[in-house]
Amino acid sequence: MTGWHLDDDILRRYVERTDSLAEGASVEQHLLSCEPCRARVSTAAVGVIDFAAVWDRTRDAVEVPRPSVFERLLRAAGLPAHEARLVAVASAFRSAWLVGVITILAFAALAAGIGQARGMWLFLAVAPVVPCLVVASSYDPWLDPALEPELVTPYPALRLILLRTIAVLAIALPAVVLFGLVVPGRAPFAFLLPAVGFVAVVLAASTWVSPLRAAVVVSVVWLAVIWQLATRSGPPGEVLQAWAQAGFTVLAVASFVIFLVRRRRLRQVRPWR
Protein backbone atom coordinates (compact mmCIF):
# COMPACT_ATOMS: atom_id res chain seq x y z
CA MET A 1 0.00 0.00 0.00
CA THR A 2 1.64 3.20 -1.15
CA GLY A 3 1.21 6.60 0.36
CA TRP A 4 -0.58 7.81 -2.72
CA HIS A 5 -4.10 9.12 -2.11
CA LEU A 6 -6.63 11.21 -3.94
CA ASP A 7 -5.99 14.90 -3.80
CA ASP A 8 -8.72 17.46 -4.35
CA ASP A 9 -8.03 17.85 -8.07
CA ILE A 10 -8.05 14.17 -8.83
CA LEU A 11 -11.18 13.77 -6.75
CA ARG A 12 -12.90 16.57 -8.60
CA ARG A 13 -11.96 15.19 -11.98
CA TYR A 14 -13.14 11.75 -10.98
CA VAL A 15 -16.51 12.98 -9.73
CA GLU A 16 -17.05 15.33 -12.65
CA ARG A 17 -15.91 12.69 -15.07
CA THR A 18 -13.33 14.93 -16.71
CA ASP A 19 -10.49 12.53 -16.12
CA SER A 20 -8.95 10.16 -18.62
CA LEU A 21 -9.61 6.46 -18.72
CA ALA A 22 -6.19 5.74 -17.32
CA GLU A 23 -6.52 8.16 -14.44
CA GLY A 24 -10.03 6.97 -13.67
CA ALA A 25 -8.93 3.36 -13.72
CA SER A 26 -6.09 4.16 -11.41
CA VAL A 27 -8.38 5.97 -9.01
CA GLU A 28 -10.88 3.13 -9.04
CA GLN A 29 -8.22 0.54 -8.44
CA HIS A 30 -7.01 2.61 -5.50
CA LEU A 31 -10.50 3.00 -4.08
CA LEU A 32 -10.97 -0.74 -3.95
CA SER A 33 -8.56 -0.93 -1.08
CA CYS A 34 -8.48 2.53 0.51
CA GLU A 35 -11.22 3.33 2.97
CA PRO A 36 -10.43 6.98 3.70
CA CYS A 37 -10.45 7.86 0.00
CA ARG A 38 -13.72 5.97 -0.45
CA ALA A 39 -15.17 8.07 2.34
CA ARG A 40 -14.07 11.23 0.52
CA VAL A 41 -15.68 10.03 -2.68
CA SER A 42 -18.88 9.13 -0.83
CA THR A 43 -19.03 12.61 0.65
CA ALA A 44 -18.69 14.06 -2.83
CA ALA A 45 -21.40 11.72 -4.10
CA VAL A 46 -24.28 13.75 -2.70
CA GLY A 47 -26.90 14.21 -5.40
CA VAL A 48 -25.86 11.40 -7.69
CA ILE A 49 -28.98 9.54 -6.63
CA ASP A 50 -31.58 10.11 -3.90
CA PHE A 51 -29.76 8.06 -1.28
CA ALA A 52 -32.45 8.48 1.36
CA ALA A 53 -35.19 7.22 -0.94
CA VAL A 54 -33.08 4.30 -2.11
CA TRP A 55 -32.39 3.40 1.51
CA ASP A 56 -36.12 3.39 2.29
CA ARG A 57 -36.79 1.09 -0.64
CA THR A 58 -33.91 -1.17 0.29
CA ARG A 59 -35.04 -1.42 3.88
CA ASP A 60 -38.58 -2.23 2.81
CA ALA A 61 -37.25 -4.87 0.43
CA VAL A 62 -35.55 -6.77 3.23
CA GLU A 63 -37.77 -6.04 6.20
CA VAL A 64 -41.35 -6.10 4.95
CA PRO A 65 -42.62 -9.66 4.49
CA ARG A 66 -43.11 -10.65 0.87
CA PRO A 67 -46.54 -11.91 -0.21
CA SER A 68 -46.65 -15.67 -0.62
CA VAL A 69 -48.09 -17.44 -3.64
CA PHE A 70 -51.41 -17.91 -1.90
CA GLU A 71 -51.58 -14.32 -0.89
CA ARG A 72 -51.12 -13.25 -4.49
CA LEU A 73 -53.76 -15.75 -5.61
CA LEU A 74 -56.20 -14.39 -3.08
CA ARG A 75 -55.56 -10.84 -4.21
CA ALA A 76 -56.14 -11.91 -7.78
CA ALA A 77 -59.40 -13.47 -6.64
CA GLY A 78 -60.59 -10.06 -5.49
CA LEU A 79 -59.75 -9.93 -1.79
CA PRO A 80 -58.32 -6.57 -0.67
CA ALA A 81 -54.57 -6.71 -0.06
CA HIS A 82 -54.62 -6.56 3.75
CA GLU A 83 -57.32 -9.19 4.03
CA ALA A 84 -55.52 -11.48 1.59
CA ARG A 85 -52.50 -11.31 3.83
CA LEU A 86 -54.53 -12.13 6.95
CA VAL A 87 -56.09 -15.14 5.32
CA ALA A 88 -52.91 -16.40 3.69
CA VAL A 89 -50.87 -16.30 6.87
CA ALA A 90 -52.76 -19.28 8.32
CA SER A 91 -50.86 -22.48 9.02
CA ALA A 92 -52.74 -24.34 6.31
CA PHE A 93 -50.94 -22.29 3.74
CA ARG A 94 -47.49 -23.06 5.00
CA SER A 95 -45.92 -24.96 2.16
CA ALA A 96 -44.97 -27.93 4.31
CA TRP A 97 -48.57 -28.61 5.21
CA LEU A 98 -49.91 -28.37 1.71
CA VAL A 99 -47.10 -30.39 0.20
CA GLY A 100 -47.81 -33.13 2.70
CA VAL A 101 -51.50 -33.08 2.01
CA ILE A 102 -51.13 -33.14 -1.76
CA THR A 103 -48.69 -36.03 -1.42
CA ILE A 104 -51.18 -38.07 0.59
CA LEU A 105 -53.91 -37.42 -1.91
CA ALA A 106 -51.67 -38.22 -4.84
CA PHE A 107 -50.61 -41.46 -3.22
CA ALA A 108 -54.17 -42.40 -2.52
CA ALA A 109 -55.26 -41.60 -6.06
CA LEU A 110 -52.38 -43.62 -7.42
CA ALA A 111 -53.34 -46.53 -5.27
CA ALA A 112 -56.88 -46.27 -6.51
CA GLY A 113 -55.73 -46.05 -10.07
CA ILE A 114 -53.49 -49.07 -10.13
CA GLY A 115 -55.01 -51.27 -7.44
CA GLN A 116 -58.52 -52.60 -7.72
CA ALA A 117 -61.13 -52.43 -5.04
CA ARG A 118 -58.45 -52.06 -2.38
CA GLY A 119 -57.11 -48.95 -3.98
CA MET A 120 -60.61 -47.58 -4.20
CA TRP A 121 -61.15 -48.12 -0.51
CA LEU A 122 -57.90 -46.34 0.23
CA PHE A 123 -58.94 -43.33 -1.76
CA LEU A 124 -62.35 -43.40 -0.17
CA ALA A 125 -60.75 -43.42 3.25
CA VAL A 126 -58.39 -40.55 2.61
CA ALA A 127 -60.01 -38.14 0.19
CA PRO A 128 -63.04 -36.95 2.21
CA VAL A 129 -61.03 -36.19 5.37
CA VAL A 130 -58.21 -34.24 3.78
CA PRO A 131 -60.19 -30.97 3.43
CA CYS A 132 -61.33 -30.97 7.06
CA LEU A 133 -57.82 -31.66 8.30
CA VAL A 134 -56.43 -28.74 6.31
CA VAL A 135 -59.26 -26.42 7.39
CA ALA A 136 -58.61 -27.34 11.04
CA SER A 137 -54.94 -26.56 10.64
CA SER A 138 -55.78 -23.09 9.36
CA TYR A 139 -57.11 -21.90 12.66
CA ASP A 140 -56.14 -24.36 15.32
CA PRO A 141 -54.35 -22.56 18.14
CA TRP A 142 -51.71 -25.24 18.45
CA LEU A 143 -50.56 -24.69 14.89
CA ASP A 144 -51.41 -21.00 14.73
CA PRO A 145 -50.35 -19.99 18.19
CA ALA A 146 -50.80 -16.24 18.27
CA LEU A 147 -54.29 -16.87 19.53
CA GLU A 148 -54.52 -14.67 22.57
CA PRO A 149 -53.65 -11.31 21.04
CA GLU A 150 -55.79 -12.23 18.05
CA LEU A 151 -58.68 -12.78 20.43
CA VAL A 152 -58.96 -9.16 21.32
CA THR A 153 -58.40 -7.45 18.04
CA PRO A 154 -61.30 -5.71 16.33
CA TYR A 155 -61.13 -7.90 13.23
CA PRO A 156 -64.08 -10.31 13.38
CA ALA A 157 -62.78 -13.76 14.28
CA LEU A 158 -65.65 -15.47 12.55
CA ARG A 159 -64.94 -13.73 9.28
CA LEU A 160 -61.33 -14.76 9.46
CA ILE A 161 -62.16 -18.40 10.09
CA LEU A 162 -64.73 -18.51 7.34
CA LEU A 163 -62.43 -16.78 4.86
CA ARG A 164 -59.63 -19.19 5.68
CA THR A 165 -61.98 -22.13 5.40
CA ILE A 166 -63.20 -20.99 2.00
CA ALA A 167 -59.66 -20.36 0.82
CA VAL A 168 -58.56 -23.80 1.94
CA LEU A 169 -61.54 -25.46 0.33
CA ALA A 170 -60.92 -23.58 -2.88
CA ILE A 171 -57.67 -25.50 -3.13
CA ALA A 172 -58.48 -28.73 -1.35
CA LEU A 173 -61.80 -29.55 -3.02
CA PRO A 174 -60.60 -29.22 -6.62
CA ALA A 175 -57.57 -31.25 -5.60
CA VAL A 176 -59.84 -34.00 -4.31
CA VAL A 177 -61.88 -33.92 -7.50
CA LEU A 178 -58.80 -33.88 -9.70
CA PHE A 179 -57.26 -36.86 -8.02
CA GLY A 180 -60.63 -38.51 -7.97
CA LEU A 181 -60.58 -38.54 -11.75
CA VAL A 182 -57.79 -41.08 -11.62
CA VAL A 183 -59.96 -43.42 -9.63
CA PRO A 184 -61.87 -45.88 -11.80
CA GLY A 185 -65.61 -46.08 -11.43
CA ARG A 186 -67.26 -43.64 -9.10
CA ALA A 187 -67.67 -40.04 -10.24
CA PRO A 188 -65.13 -37.81 -8.50
CA PHE A 189 -67.81 -35.40 -7.35
CA ALA A 190 -69.27 -38.03 -5.11
CA PHE A 191 -66.40 -37.44 -2.70
CA LEU A 192 -67.28 -33.81 -2.35
CA LEU A 193 -70.34 -34.05 -0.14
CA PRO A 194 -68.64 -36.17 2.51
CA ALA A 195 -65.68 -33.79 2.42
CA VAL A 196 -67.88 -30.74 2.90
CA GLY A 197 -69.87 -32.55 5.57
CA PHE A 198 -66.74 -33.27 7.58
CA VAL A 199 -65.58 -29.66 7.28
CA ALA A 200 -68.91 -28.51 8.69
CA VAL A 201 -68.63 -31.03 11.53
CA VAL A 202 -65.17 -29.74 12.42
CA LEU A 203 -66.36 -26.14 12.36
CA ALA A 204 -69.20 -26.98 14.69
CA ALA A 205 -67.03 -29.12 16.97
CA SER A 206 -64.48 -26.35 17.28
CA THR A 207 -66.96 -24.48 19.43
CA TRP A 208 -66.38 -27.20 22.02
CA VAL A 209 -62.88 -28.54 21.44
CA SER A 210 -59.85 -27.50 19.43
CA PRO A 211 -60.37 -27.80 15.65
CA LEU A 212 -57.44 -30.09 15.04
CA ARG A 213 -58.62 -32.49 17.70
CA ALA A 214 -62.05 -32.53 16.12
CA ALA A 215 -60.60 -33.15 12.67
CA VAL A 216 -58.45 -36.00 13.90
CA VAL A 217 -61.42 -37.61 15.61
CA VAL A 218 -63.54 -37.27 12.48
CA SER A 219 -60.76 -38.78 10.40
CA VAL A 220 -60.28 -41.72 12.71
CA VAL A 221 -64.00 -42.41 12.90
CA TRP A 222 -64.31 -42.30 9.13
CA LEU A 223 -61.31 -44.57 8.71
CA ALA A 224 -62.88 -47.01 11.12
CA VAL A 225 -66.15 -46.90 9.20
CA ILE A 226 -64.40 -47.50 5.90
CA TRP A 227 -62.35 -50.28 7.41
CA GLN A 228 -65.49 -51.99 8.63
CA LEU A 229 -67.20 -51.66 5.26
CA ALA A 230 -64.10 -52.77 3.40
CA THR A 231 -63.65 -55.97 5.34
CA ARG A 232 -67.35 -56.73 5.16
CA SER A 233 -69.16 -55.91 1.94
CA GLY A 234 -67.93 -55.86 -1.64
CA PRO A 235 -67.93 -52.90 -3.94
CA PRO A 236 -66.71 -49.64 -2.46
CA GLY A 237 -69.18 -47.65 -4.51
CA GLU A 238 -71.94 -48.51 -2.11
CA VAL A 239 -70.84 -45.91 0.37
CA LEU A 240 -71.56 -43.20 -2.09
CA GLN A 241 -75.09 -44.14 -2.93
CA ALA A 242 -77.87 -41.59 -2.96
CA TRP A 243 -78.94 -42.27 0.60
CA ALA A 244 -75.39 -41.73 1.82
CA GLN A 245 -75.12 -38.50 -0.12
CA ALA A 246 -78.36 -37.29 1.38
CA GLY A 247 -77.06 -38.18 4.81
CA PHE A 248 -73.90 -36.19 4.27
CA THR A 249 -75.91 -33.20 3.10
CA VAL A 250 -78.01 -33.25 6.25
CA LEU A 251 -74.85 -33.60 8.33
CA ALA A 252 -73.27 -30.62 6.60
CA VAL A 253 -76.27 -28.34 6.98
CA ALA A 254 -76.98 -29.29 10.60
CA SER A 255 -73.34 -28.85 11.58
CA PHE A 256 -73.09 -25.50 9.95
CA VAL A 257 -76.21 -24.30 11.73
CA ILE A 258 -74.77 -25.44 15.05
CA PHE A 259 -71.55 -23.64 14.22
CA LEU A 260 -73.34 -20.38 13.53
CA VAL A 261 -75.44 -20.63 16.66
CA ARG A 262 -72.46 -21.32 18.91
CA ARG A 263 -69.94 -19.11 17.15
CA ARG A 264 -69.37 -16.89 20.16
CA ARG A 265 -67.74 -19.75 21.94
CA LEU A 266 -65.23 -20.31 19.18
CA ARG A 267 -62.34 -18.35 20.55
CA GLN A 268 -62.89 -19.13 24.18
CA VAL A 269 -61.56 -22.62 23.73
CA ARG A 270 -58.33 -22.86 25.69
CA PRO A 271 -55.28 -23.37 23.50
CA TRP A 272 -54.39 -27.02 23.49
CA ARG A 273 -50.66 -27.30 23.98
Binding site: V15, S20, S26, V41, S42, V46, V48, I49, V54
Partner: protein, 178 residues
Protein backbone atom coordinates in the same frame (compact mmCIF):
# COMPACT_ATOMS: atom_id res chain seq x y z
CA UNK B 1 -8.31 3.48 12.16
CA UNK B 2 -10.82 5.07 14.54
CA UNK B 3 -13.35 3.31 16.74
CA UNK B 4 -15.96 2.77 14.04
CA UNK B 5 -16.81 -0.87 13.44
CA UNK B 6 -14.95 -2.54 10.59
CA UNK B 7 -16.77 -3.72 7.50
CA UNK B 8 -16.31 -7.36 8.41
CA UNK B 9 -17.85 -6.76 11.84
CA UNK B 10 -20.77 -5.06 10.14
CA UNK B 11 -21.24 -7.98 7.80
CA UNK B 12 -21.32 -10.38 10.71
CA UNK B 13 -23.98 -8.21 12.33
CA UNK B 14 -25.95 -8.16 9.07
CA UNK B 15 -25.86 -11.95 9.07
CA UNK B 16 -27.52 -11.70 12.49
CA UNK B 17 -30.14 -9.47 10.90
CA UNK B 18 -28.99 -6.21 12.47
CA UNK B 19 -30.63 -3.39 10.54
CA UNK B 20 -28.44 -0.76 12.20
CA UNK B 21 -25.26 -2.40 10.90
CA UNK B 22 -26.85 -2.73 7.49
CA UNK B 23 -27.63 0.95 7.44
CA UNK B 24 -24.05 1.81 8.39
CA UNK B 25 -22.80 -0.31 5.51
CA UNK B 26 -25.15 1.49 3.20
CA UNK B 27 -24.05 4.93 4.36
CA UNK B 28 -20.45 3.95 4.04
CA UNK B 29 -20.55 2.43 0.59
CA UNK B 30 -23.58 3.51 -1.40
CA UNK B 31 -21.93 6.81 -2.31
CA UNK B 32 -18.78 5.67 -4.01
CA UNK B 33 -20.56 2.71 -5.61
CA UNK B 34 -23.18 5.03 -7.07
CA UNK B 35 -20.58 7.36 -8.53
CA UNK B 36 -18.68 4.49 -10.02
CA UNK B 37 -21.84 3.06 -11.57
CA UNK B 38 -22.86 6.47 -12.86
CA UNK B 39 -19.56 6.58 -14.74
CA UNK B 40 -20.76 3.59 -16.72
CA UNK B 41 -24.40 4.42 -17.13
CA UNK B 42 -25.99 7.82 -17.42
CA UNK B 43 -29.46 6.66 -16.41
CA UNK B 44 -29.66 7.69 -12.74
CA UNK B 45 -32.79 5.63 -12.11
CA UNK B 46 -30.99 2.51 -13.22
CA UNK B 47 -28.07 3.38 -10.99
CA UNK B 48 -30.44 3.84 -8.05
CA UNK B 49 -32.09 0.48 -8.78
CA UNK B 50 -28.72 -1.20 -9.07
CA UNK B 51 -27.63 0.23 -5.71
CA UNK B 52 -30.82 -1.07 -4.14
CA UNK B 53 -30.30 -4.50 -5.68
CA UNK B 54 -26.70 -4.51 -4.52
CA UNK B 55 -27.53 -3.94 -0.90
CA UNK B 56 -30.43 -6.35 -0.95
CA UNK B 57 -27.96 -8.94 -2.26
CA UNK B 58 -25.55 -8.07 0.55
CA UNK B 59 -28.34 -8.58 3.07
CA UNK B 60 -29.33 -11.89 1.59
CA UNK B 61 -25.85 -13.32 1.52
CA UNK B 62 -23.41 -11.42 3.72
CA UNK B 63 -21.33 -14.55 4.12
CA UNK B 64 -20.55 -14.31 0.39
CA UNK B 65 -17.63 -12.12 1.38
CA UNK B 66 -15.05 -14.53 2.62
CA UNK B 67 -12.64 -11.97 3.95
CA UNK B 68 -10.21 -12.51 1.11
CA UNK B 69 -9.39 -9.19 -0.42
CA UNK B 70 -11.05 -5.90 0.27
CA UNK B 71 -14.74 -5.46 0.74
CA UNK B 72 -14.68 -2.76 -1.92
CA UNK B 73 -13.86 -5.26 -4.63
CA UNK B 74 -16.58 -7.63 -3.46
CA UNK B 75 -19.19 -4.88 -3.35
CA UNK B 76 -18.19 -3.54 -6.75
CA UNK B 77 -18.44 -7.02 -8.25
CA UNK B 78 -22.01 -7.27 -7.02
CA UNK B 79 -22.90 -3.72 -8.05
CA UNK B 80 -21.68 -3.90 -11.64
CA UNK B 81 -23.45 -7.20 -12.19
CA UNK B 82 -26.66 -5.82 -10.78
CA UNK B 83 -26.37 -2.88 -13.15
CA UNK B 84 -25.90 -5.24 -16.06
CA UNK B 85 -28.93 -7.20 -14.87
CA UNK B 86 -31.04 -4.10 -14.80
CA UNK B 87 -29.89 -3.08 -18.23
CA UNK B 88 -30.91 -6.44 -19.55
CA UNK B 89 -34.48 -5.89 -18.48
CA UNK B 90 -34.62 -2.33 -19.64
CA UNK B 91 -36.12 -1.93 -23.07
CA UNK B 92 -34.84 1.50 -23.68
CA UNK B 93 -31.21 2.02 -24.37
CA UNK B 94 -29.14 3.50 -21.58
CA UNK B 95 -26.13 4.95 -23.27
CA UNK B 96 -22.83 4.31 -21.66
CA UNK B 97 -21.47 7.56 -20.54
CA UNK B 98 -18.20 8.62 -21.99
CA UNK B 99 -15.69 10.73 -20.19
CA UNK B 100 -15.77 14.16 -21.73
CA UNK B 101 -12.18 14.21 -22.64
CA UNK B 102 -10.91 17.73 -22.43
CA UNK B 103 -7.44 17.92 -23.84
CA UNK B 104 -5.19 17.25 -20.90
CA UNK B 105 -3.31 20.27 -19.69
CA UNK B 106 0.43 20.28 -20.14
CA UNK B 107 1.21 19.39 -16.56
CA UNK B 108 -1.39 16.68 -16.62
CA UNK B 109 0.18 15.19 -19.66
CA UNK B 110 3.44 15.05 -17.86
CA UNK B 111 1.62 13.50 -14.92
CA UNK B 112 0.07 10.91 -17.16
CA UNK B 113 3.41 9.91 -18.58
CA UNK B 114 5.06 9.85 -15.22
CA UNK B 115 2.27 8.02 -13.40
CA UNK B 116 1.10 5.67 -16.01
CA UNK B 117 3.91 5.68 -18.49
CA UNK B 118 3.05 4.97 -22.06
CA UNK B 119 -0.07 3.05 -21.30
CA UNK B 120 -1.96 6.18 -20.35
CA UNK B 121 -1.19 7.86 -23.63
CA UNK B 122 -1.78 4.70 -25.56
CA UNK B 123 -5.20 4.32 -24.03
CA UNK B 124 -6.00 7.96 -24.69
CA UNK B 125 -5.39 7.35 -28.38
CA UNK B 126 -7.99 4.61 -28.64
CA UNK B 127 -11.45 5.37 -29.90
CA UNK B 128 -14.19 5.83 -27.26
CA UNK B 129 -15.81 2.53 -28.18
CA UNK B 130 -12.57 0.66 -27.71
CA UNK B 131 -11.90 2.39 -24.38
CA UNK B 132 -15.36 1.41 -23.17
CA UNK B 133 -14.69 -2.23 -23.98
CA UNK B 134 -11.29 -2.14 -22.27
CA UNK B 135 -12.86 -0.60 -19.19
CA UNK B 136 -15.67 -3.15 -19.05
CA UNK B 137 -13.69 -6.29 -19.73
CA UNK B 138 -10.20 -5.58 -18.49
CA UNK B 139 -10.81 -3.14 -15.65
CA UNK B 140 -14.27 -4.14 -14.39
CA UNK B 141 -13.73 -7.82 -15.00
CA UNK B 142 -16.96 -8.40 -16.87
CA UNK B 143 -17.41 -11.32 -19.23
CA UNK B 144 -17.89 -10.59 -22.90
CA UNK B 145 -21.60 -11.30 -22.50
CA UNK B 146 -21.95 -8.95 -19.56
CA UNK B 147 -19.98 -6.27 -21.32
CA UNK B 148 -22.26 -6.65 -24.32
CA UNK B 149 -25.28 -6.04 -22.09
CA UNK B 150 -23.68 -3.07 -20.42
CA UNK B 151 -22.65 -1.43 -23.67
CA UNK B 152 -25.75 -2.53 -25.50
CA UNK B 153 -23.88 -4.07 -28.40
CA UNK B 154 -23.73 -7.63 -29.65
CA UNK B 155 -21.23 -10.00 -28.06
CA UNK B 156 -19.36 -10.37 -31.32
CA UNK B 157 -18.83 -6.62 -31.45
CA UNK B 158 -17.36 -6.68 -27.94
CA UNK B 159 -14.90 -9.36 -28.94
CA UNK B 160 -13.94 -7.61 -32.13
CA UNK B 161 -13.36 -4.28 -30.42
CA UNK B 162 -11.37 -5.91 -27.66
CA UNK B 163 -9.20 -7.66 -30.20
CA UNK B 164 -8.65 -4.46 -32.16
CA UNK B 165 -8.02 -2.43 -28.99
CA UNK B 166 -5.34 -4.83 -27.88
CA UNK B 167 -3.78 -4.68 -31.30
CA UNK B 168 -3.81 -0.89 -31.34
CA UNK B 169 -2.33 -0.71 -27.85
CA UNK B 170 0.50 -3.00 -28.85
CA UNK B 171 1.11 -0.91 -31.97
CA UNK B 172 1.08 2.39 -30.11
CA UNK B 173 3.35 1.08 -27.40
CA UNK B 174 5.69 -0.30 -30.02
CA UNK B 175 5.89 3.15 -31.57
CA UNK B 176 7.44 4.41 -28.40
CA UNK B 177 6.89 7.75 -26.66
CA UNK B 178 5.90 10.52 -29.00
Amino acid sequence: MDSRPGDETLLLAVAERDMGAFRTLYERHAGWLAIRLARRCNDRDLVADAIQDTFVAVWQKPQGFRGDGDIGAWLWGIAIRRLVSRLRTRSRVAAVFENTEAAPAAEDQVLLSVEYGDIGQALARLSPEMRAVIQAVVLDGLSAKEAAQLLDVPVSTVKTRLHRAKGRLRAVLAEGPS
